[in-house]
């Protein structure tokens, strides 16, 4: 593969990223070339946590990395901020070569451009909510009144006003993660890493936090890298998903792509139990419009089947699908909707 400079909409660009744990991983890669074989790794007693990751994360998108424990997703996200130094590969952030910058520049970049949320919150137990949220600004040497005002704004943003004086252990898990989120947003990062932010929470709270997260993203439009082991969470939140297994990325695509065209049986296994009505959109299930056909109403092409099902099933009305410009591009009838709802084989698009 030739070296390419990332195109502008790409916030983060990874090419051929490897992370190999074990002694003398560097010299091993030099000896066995850029993509060593499994058997060679095993013989050297090394573990490849990330194998040849190639990614482009677009500005303003929610990019979810999904994989089971041990799949390397946490290592990969740490490679992106160099919390873990990649063994090989290229890493560009906003066109800047992250692997080439000095420790000092990296610190500056983390201070101002990156935010991270942790699975177990990683709140500082000796600081109050206010202290925790103001902490990243304190590190930068921001004046006290300024950073406190900023922290109060963030606390209000995540709905914790009135609890500024509480200590982390006096809060519930969900509240603690709200603090974690407020803290990571306090520096107005360009890129926001969330490492399984809701995995430690109860299912009900998790759902609430997902809604909250979508609300925040609606306001802020950050570039987001979101790690999860929960496929439902991934399809609920993601613009695009990367699925990882044994350190390798096996498929990248929008939720709909993964469901309609799983690259491997492994991916298909995940998608099997997913409610298709929640993922598939009108555009996917529509049929061409018969010339001269009269349409009773129209709906947007990205409307999920789940949301149009009620209308479609309870009437014989013909619904036209329009694209962003309002042009009719197809029609949905109730048979197509019923097929999705009862789980008949979805239409393949290729």
């Amino acid at each position: 593969m030739t070296r390419t400079t990332p195109s502008p909409p790409s916030a983060l660009h990874l090419q051929g990223i490897w992370k190999i744990f074990g002694e003398d991983a560097d010299s091993f890669l030099q000896k066995f070339g850029p993509s060593p074989a499994d058997s060679d790794l095993q013989k050297a007693g090394l573990i490849a946590a990330v194998r040849d990751a190639n990614l482009d994360i677009h500005r303003g998108e929610i990019f979810v990395i999904m994989g089971l424990s041990g799949s390397g997703k946490s290592t990969l996200v740490r490679c992106m901020s160099r919390l873990i130094e990649p063994t090989a590969g290229e890493l560009f952030f906003e066109g800047q070569d992250l692997l080439a910058i000095s420790e000092k520049e990296l610190t500056e970049m983390r201070r101002h451009k990156m935010g991270m949320v942790f699975q177990h919150f990683a709140l500082l137990p000796h600081l109050s909510v206010l202290g925790n949220v103001a902490f990243p600004l304190e590190i930068q040497g921001v004046e006290k009144s300024v950073r406190q005002q900023r922290a109060l704004d963030m606390i209000e943003l995540v709905g914790l006003s009135g609890r500024e004086d509480y200590y982390p252990r006096e809060l519930s898990g969900g509240q603690q993660q709200r603090v974690g989120i407020a803290r990571s947003l306090a520096v107005e990062p360009d890129i926001w890493f969330l490492d399984e932010p809701f995995s430690a929470l109860d299912p009900l709270i998790r759902r609430e936090m997902q809604d909250e997260f979508l609300r925040l993203q609606g306001l802020l439009r950050k570039t987001i890298v979101f790690i999860t082991h929960d496929f439902d969470e991934a399809i609920r939140l993601a613009d695009r998903i990367a699925i990882m297994k044994d350190g390798a990325i096996i498929q990248i695509g929008a939720p709909e792509d993964l469901i309609l065209n799983p690259a491997t049986d492994y991916v298909a296994e995940f998608t099997r139990d997913v409610s298709r009505a929640k993922v598939l959109s009108a555009k996917t299930v529509m049929r061409p419009v018969t010339p001269g056909e009269s349409l009773d109403e129209t709906l947007a092409h990205h409307t999920k089947v789940q949301d149009l099902a009620h209308r479609a099933v309870n009437s014989d009305r013909h619904m036209g699908v329009i694209d962003d410009d309002g042009v009719i591009i197809g029609a949905v009838d109730n048979q197509a909707v019923l097929d999705v709802l009862v789980g008949n084989e979805p239409p393949r698009t290729n």
Binding site: R78, S81, L83, T107, E108, R110, R111, H112, M114, G115, M116, F118, Q119, H120, A122, L124, P125, H126, L127, S128, F135, P136, E138, I139, Q140, D165, Y166, Y167, E170, F193
Partner: protein
């Protein structure tokens, strides 16, 4: 696969082990009866002894007399360190005990008297109230009131002044070394064995070099105290920093902390509670050192205990010993309260009444009122002698009475145990050929930890033989072994009982907390009162001093048995006894063994002190070296004690570690 292998490794001792063991024992028996044929195998020959002690003594002489660092000599360097430390120490001493004279001439008039006893009591009471509440305030005030009431105030303040200087210094040094070791693994690798040695070589052994380098007096005593009390702080610092959760460090890096910021703003505050454990240890060890430090001029309570012990003035010794204990209890609880002080937000009800600033204000007000007031009412400044009480005659009489009325019974117990248990063990160990002991140690070492432990065990035991202290070392092993055996027989059942009964548990915790705050010397007083000098008295003191960890670890081990296992056993129909013997004890065993390990370590450190009551082991060797100011002799004997301690510690820890792996318990 590997886990299974190690499982089989521990679970069944292989035949080869018993085979070799049998061969060694047979050889031992043959050698025992054929001593004349190969005497050098039975007893380490005198000609083979390496004169290490003379080498060390000569080196020490050279260091003091000739070693030149260019602009100044080594002795000038050490003496100037002593001179530097003199300043804060004498300031604290003036403030608490002697008053300020503002003149270096002896006998100069006191310009400003020492802080009034009333003020000291009130300030410590307020501090206790500030940190924890009324209960602690009552306890601390009571402890200090004892000092005044029983006429120990002046000595106690001398002791306290050296503690208030030694502890912060020791804590700071330990903290800095700990951080360095945490940051530089290579440094840690070098530091760990040094710490091991510092903690296992008996204190007496390095009193002589300290004496030579820093002279006789409070400063030298304080330096010895710091050498003794600092290592745990280093260890605790390393451990505490390592225990800071990884995601907090990651967060710190993501927030863009520089290295110093990470340390100051994340690692230290998060580890603060663990670090306070180290501070507490430094305080307790410093107090433990009080009596020993008085041998090189510390004065204060330690000197009082020591001189009464020498005069066999039981009552006086007991009262001064109790004074150290109360001081220790007060400082221990204060430091614990500081570590545990609640950190709550202002909305919480337990927000302290007395904020730090209000406390400081109250303390200053107390001082500024009581100091001038004591000028007009001297009783407020110095506790009046007429109000002092003493119980020393009561104790002297009690001992006399017991010795008159129960002499025969006490003597009978002593003789019975000496003849039937102690003597046979002693004779066995002394008669066993030295090569056989070394062979057995190496074999066990190999079994437990392959070549690493085999070589370690062999090297350290050969060292003991080579420096010519074999038989003294065997007496140490015998006294330590018998004492630990008794301590285990007492401690483990108490621990089992306490673990199953909450009320007994609470009582036991108070008892062992108290036992552990008592300075080791205090244990000598009652045993000498009742059994006079000798191995038996020494053994009793050692048992009393070292039993606490056996109890504590047994309780801990049993409480750590997972509740679902107990539940499952009950569901299968086990009786409480079956649960105890078949479930709780086997699982708690590795932890109990760690307790026994601690007991051995404490027993060894106590043994050196019992040399004062006439044992003939390595401890005596160290003590003689101290009285003769023989550096080499003391250090060599001290290192031999350390060798025994290290072998015991490594072997037992390794066994416990393997056993825990086998049981799938967290290491």
């Amino acid at each position: 696969m590997e886990a299974r292998q190690s499982f089989g490794d521990v679970a069944r001792t292989p035949a080869w082990f018993w085979g070799i063991f049998a061969v060694i024992v047979t050889l031992g028996i043959i050698l025992f009866f054929a001593q004349d044929q190969a005497p050098y195998l039975a007893k380490y020959p005198r000609d083979w002894v390496i004169p290490l002690r003379f080498v060390i003594s000569d080196w020490m002489q050279w260091l003091i007399k000739e070693f030149d660092l260019g602009f100044f000599t080594f002795k000038e360097l050490t003496r100037s360190i002593a001179w530097l430390l003199e300043w804060p120490l004498s300031a604290a001493n003036s403030l608490l005990a002697t008053g300020f004279t503002f003149s270096t001439e002896p006998g100069a008039p006191v310009v400003l008297p020492a802080a009034p006893w009333t003020a000291v009591i009130i300030i410590f009471g307020l501090l206790a109230f500030h940190l924890s509440g009324t209960r602690l305030a009552v306890l601390v005030t009571g402890c200090f009131a004892y000092l005044a009431l029983f006429g120990q105030w002046h000595s106690a303040m001398i002791t306290l002044s050296s503690i208030v200087i030694a502890v912060p210094l020791g804590v700071s040094i330990g903290f800095v070394l700990g951080i360095a070791a945490y940051r530089h693994p290579v440094f840690e690798k070098w530091l760990t064995p040094v710490l091991d040695l510092m903690q296992t070589v008996p204190i007496f052994a390095y009193l002589v070099p300290v004496l030579f380098l820093f002279g006789f007096g409070p400063v030298a005593a304080m330096i010895a105290t710091m050498i003794y009390a600092t290592p745990p702080m280093v260890r605790v610092t390393i451990l505490a920093l390592k225990q800071v959760p990884a995601d907090l460090l990651e967060y710190g890096n993501m927030a863009g902390c520089a290295r110093g910021q990470l340390l100051r703003k994340i690692q230290v505050p998060v580890a603060q509670k663990s670090l306070m454990v180290g501070v507490n240890q430094v305080i307790m060890l410093s107090l433990n050192m009080v009596i020993i430090a008085s041998m090189i001029g510390a004065g204060g309570l330690g000197f009082d205990v020591l001189s009464s012990l020498r005069r066999l003035a039981i009552g006086d010794g007991l009262e001064a010993g109790l004074a150290i204990t109360f001081l220790a209890i007060a400082l221990d609880r204060l430091s614990q309260a500081f570590a545990d002080r609640p950190q709550t937000s202002r909305h919480s009800q337990s927000y302290p009444l007395l904020t730090p600033s209000r406390f400081t204000l109250a303390a200053l007000v107390t001082l500024s009122i009581s100091w001038p007031a004591s000028h007009f009412y001297p009783a407020l400044g110095v506790y009046p002698e007429s109000l002092q009480i003493t119980t020393s005659h009561f104790w002297d009489d009690l001992v006399k009475w017991i010795n008159i009325n129960f002499f025969d019974q006490l003597e009978a117990i002593k003789t019975f145990i000496l003849i039937n248990i102690m003597m046979p063990v002693k004779r066995f160990l002394l008669k066993t050929p030295w090569v056989i002991v070394i062979a057995v140690i190496s074999l066990i070492g190999y079994r437990l930890g392959r070549f690493r432990l085999a070589v370690l065990g062999m090297a350290l035991t050969v060292f003991i033989a080579a420096v010519g202290l074999w038989s003294k070392a065997m007496i140490t092993v015998y006294l330590c072994g018998v004492s630990v055996l008794f301590a285990a027989c007492i401690g483990v059942p108490i621990g089992i009982l306490a673990a199953s009964n909450p009320r007994a548990n609470r009582a036991t915790q108070v008892a062992i907390d108290t036992l552990q705050t008592l300075p080791s010397f205090v244990y000598l007083i009652p045993v000498v009162m009742l059994f006079r000098v000798g191995d038996f008295a020494a053994m009793l003191a050692v048992i009393a001093y070292s039993v606490a960890p056996a109890i504590r670890y047994t309780i801990l081990g049993i409480q750590q048995v997972p509740a679902h296992l107990i539940e499952a056993s009950r569901a299968m129909g086990c009786t409480p006894n079956q649960i105890r013997w078949r479930v709780q004890l086997p699982i708690a065993l590795p932890q109990i063994m760690l307790g026994i390990n601690q007991t051995i370590m404490m027993a060894l450190s106590m043994l050196v002190i019992t040399a004062l009551v006439g044992t003939r082991d390595l401890g005596q060797e160290v003590y003689i070296a101290l009285t003769k100011a023989d550096t080499g002799r003391g250090i060599v004997a001290g290192v031999c004690v350390a060798c025994i301690a290290i072998v015991a510690d490594r072997f037992i820890s390794q066994w416990s570690h393997k056993k825990k792996m086998e049981l799938g318990l967290p290491a």
